[in-house]
Subunit: 308 residues, 4 copies
């Protein structure tokens, strides 16, 4: 599998972790899920992220899932390797790269406070990872660490293996504008910028110069469609698609219950066998299910209208 590089574009969907109702990893669903994402046009897969259910896996299970997904996928796989120390981070990174991962992703520790601390952390990440290409995961809402654009620019300049930014600052449009200004002026390498936040700002992010999305909505075809249409200059078409999916995407952004909604829809679409979250995890109430069903029905209707 080729390694991740600065030219990466499209949708690196954040995969869910399928479990049986009893809480066991459901390997058949893992396979089906990989196939489903590829059928929907994603250009990459991202696994073992910080949110979602990867942290509920045993270390043995984590490796097995990485192995299984990498083996089955025909697209590059990025693996989250964030850890409290450089040693366990490198251990996991080396292990998944050997399996065939395309790159790894690293978020900063919550103890990072100042510009220099953020810079120093990623400098040490670059040293620890050797030749492995990696993604800088910028996710202030969860890590509570804000990294200014000029700090990202310093990292890009000094650490050549940093090839992608997972952009998830909020609000973050000005950040994309600033980073693209730096590379347009030739002050930094132009790295890939893929956006998170459940895709809720994807059209505007594309308008600022993002290369795509790295997030996990249950209809990956929304992200794929928005990115493709933006790439073709079909801006209004991109927004039409986005708007049709937005009510459900918004519902999925609720903490906890949102992931249960995502799995509910993926199960309904036949991708995973069970919508169950592993413990401890939220479950949809009858009211939640009614909400999701209404949103799905309205979404189908609206999609039919705009494709008519």
């Amino acid at each position: 599998m080729p390694l991740l590089n600065e030219a990466a574009k499209g949708v690196y969907v954040i995969a869910v972790t399928p479990f049986s109702d009893a809480g066991e990893v459901d390997w058949a669903s893992v396979d089906r899920m990989v196939d489903f994402y590829e059928e929907k046009g994603v250009t990459g897969l991202t696994i073992l992220g910080q949110l979602g259910e990867a942290p509920k896996l045993t270390s043995e299970e984590s490796r097995e899932i990485a192995r299984r997904v990498i083996a089955r996928a025909n697209v590059p796989v990025v693996v989250g390797v964030t850890a409290p120390g450089l040693a366990p981070m490198r251990e996991l990174a080396d292990s998944v790269m050997e399996m065939g991962a395309a790159g790894v992703m690293v978020a900063p520790p919550w103890t990072t406070k100042t510009d220099d601390q953020a810079y120093a952390f990623y400098l040490s990440v670059g040293e620890a990872l050797g030749q492995t290409p990696w993604v800088l995961q910028d996710y202030p809402l969860t890590t509570n660490v804000t990294i200014a654009p000029k700090v990202i620019d310093r990292i890009i300049r000094d650490v050549p293996t940093c090839v992608m930014l997972k952009h998830e600052d909020w609000p973050g449009l000005a950040k994309i504008t600033a980073l693209r200004a730096s590379s347009d002026k030739g002050e930094t390498r132009r790295i890939s910028i893929l956006c998170g936040n459940g895709g809720l700002f994807l059209p505007e992010e594309m308008g600022r110069g993002a290369d795509g999305a790295m997030t996990g909505f249950c209809f990956p075809e929304m992200m794929v469609g928005v990115v493709e249409n933006y790439g073709k200059g079909e801006i209004e078409r991109a927004h039409d698609l986005f708007d049709a999916y937005l009510p459900l995407a918004r519902y999925e952004q609720q903490q906890g219950i949102g992931l249960a909604a995502r799995k509910y829809v993926l199960a309904k679409r036949g991708v995973i066998a069970s919508a169950a979250l592993r413990k401890p995890g939220a479950a949809l109430s009858p009211g939640d299910i009614a909400d999701v069903e209404r949103l799905l029905a309205r979404q189908s209707k609206r999609l039919a209208e705009i494709s008519a």
Copy 2:
């Protein structure tokens, strides 16, 4: 002006604070804003909230704005009186009630950690406020205080002057369901529940038993329309309206820049003279303005479609 009570319904819009470009309070715009909100059908006004720009006012200006808005408004006015101590809270509350406010709103201090601490705090609020009706402001994203439904139930039972919940937990649909179950079973008084979060979950919140919205989107007619249609059982119509405004409402929910976008639109609509935020405050970039303009154009088009 009649006092706030448990039967309050509709939209208590959170008013912006109009400033001139030079940063002075713009009194003509304050008046125009009150008229505008009433023309759009709001049932109440909420001023001096914790977010927005009220904290940037001098104490003299705060009182003047309260006085001006209360004098001009034909609808009830709720005034935020959250303060670090009971004494300044009561001082402000007494002052605005004398001016003719309908009630006051109080958020918990960030030091509140346990169920009993939240309960004890609101018990002391009730004692300090005497006969003044008040709104429990439940806003975990900002206060970092989560109040369980059973704690709210205890407060409702023991503090008769608590007549409304400003609901802004996120996710919070299950909380509305739980609170309504308590009052439906006769275990607690049924108080008014008005929802925040920029209206981003308003249709679903209405479906769970909310009585309306208390938030600040630049098109208050969206909230008014959703609440009215839900009240008439026109659920799909409510969602149609909501969906048409959602792309812009989502854009307005960006921290900092969102408020600048709200003021930009209100200025464009002729409500306030200047879109400026008082220092320190964000300003829209050309890219932000282009985003908002596109969203406005698309919104007009979509509203025309659904009203056709």
Copy 3:
């Protein structure tokens, strides 16, 4: 009263706010407290800080206390004027400077995340305050804002009215070392550095180049003695004093209950009439009182030993 400047040294004690048992401001105790602090050798007073009970005052009471303390004191008075906006900050600052305050103190808003944001905030503070000398309050434990030494250096360079750092980072010894290295090399002005954290690191902070303390232990003579002895090169003597008071100083650093302990001792020493905190506030339990009494007895004994 002369204005605060970079040469400030010694102990600017953070004053408590004396209330009667009924919760009213106790003006006689305010006067007695000012006299007490001066008798114990403090070189300045700090009032209306962010912690403590100043936020529980009404705005009217705050101004009255500032007026009373400034009128009575023979030493310079620094007044905390931190506010969510520049306008109310300036309003309060102008008001207390007119009363005769020596300077004001400003902490950063919790929304400050990056180096440039901290710098920009203090630049705007300097502009808003005009000629008023001010203290940069660096208190990450409460504000959740960490300001790197190089950012403080930038502020010192560009804002001539910044004359003092209230140093309360934790751990913060390296920060003092870094700031003094900058001024020793002539890269920045040498401003006054007074240290907080309840005095718990005062001897080590003096060793790194601090000019004294700005904090509120119930035995201000400890801080005065440590600073004086350090100034005379009597390092071991400074530590002897410090160690004798440390067990009680440590006890006072407990959140909430610590302030109640401080007032208990000040009441016992005859400085304030009542140890009561205004609501909402903690009260000492019998067990806490027994702890404090034991610590006081042991402290007296140890002080007698070291002065023998």
Copy 4:
């Protein structure tokens, strides 16, 4: 090795993780450290805690350290098994119990907000761990989760395998008093309470009914001495010992640099070969070392005085 139970008393010291200068686990130092702690009179060992350097270990190294320590120790070993999910928690717990651990320790996830959430979490921990006895780690300063005494009482009542509280609330003396009142009245089982916070409140905690300490000061003999003297009713003697060590214990409580100071002293005492922290980690500056050396010299002198 016998299992941990409610009768546990004394000092369960939190062990450091010894590394070579190059950052490799130093197995000889691990052995020496176990022997050292036992010679100093500790009654148990605690390893793989959340703070310190355990999170920097690879999963392989973690297990090897657990195996090595358990094999060598003649006292019970408690192992930290906190994890984001119940599955990896149980996996690690089962593994270390098989190696001969006496019990495990679990902190709550940061998403825990309400009383019922804390209770539900520990109920599920009890179910997941089967017969394994476990320690409830109550550490609000780091986890940001405050668990009220009445919630701990509920857990004690409903989960018989919860046999110990690692008490690290701050301030926390009232919490010990409340928990002991419950068990004294026969409302709950009396479980073991061992205290953290670097031992900085140990004498007072013993006075409230704690059974000892679970923390990591570089002179474990301080904790052992305080606990023993308190047990014999030699309260003043306990305080004398405590006060002699307090200046250094306080210095060790600085975040980051404190752990470097602890390792510096342990290396100086011949316990571990290198004072190095694994990356990323702080290192003592010359100024820090001078501070520690002064504190050590003064401590020796004071210990000689009080034992004279």
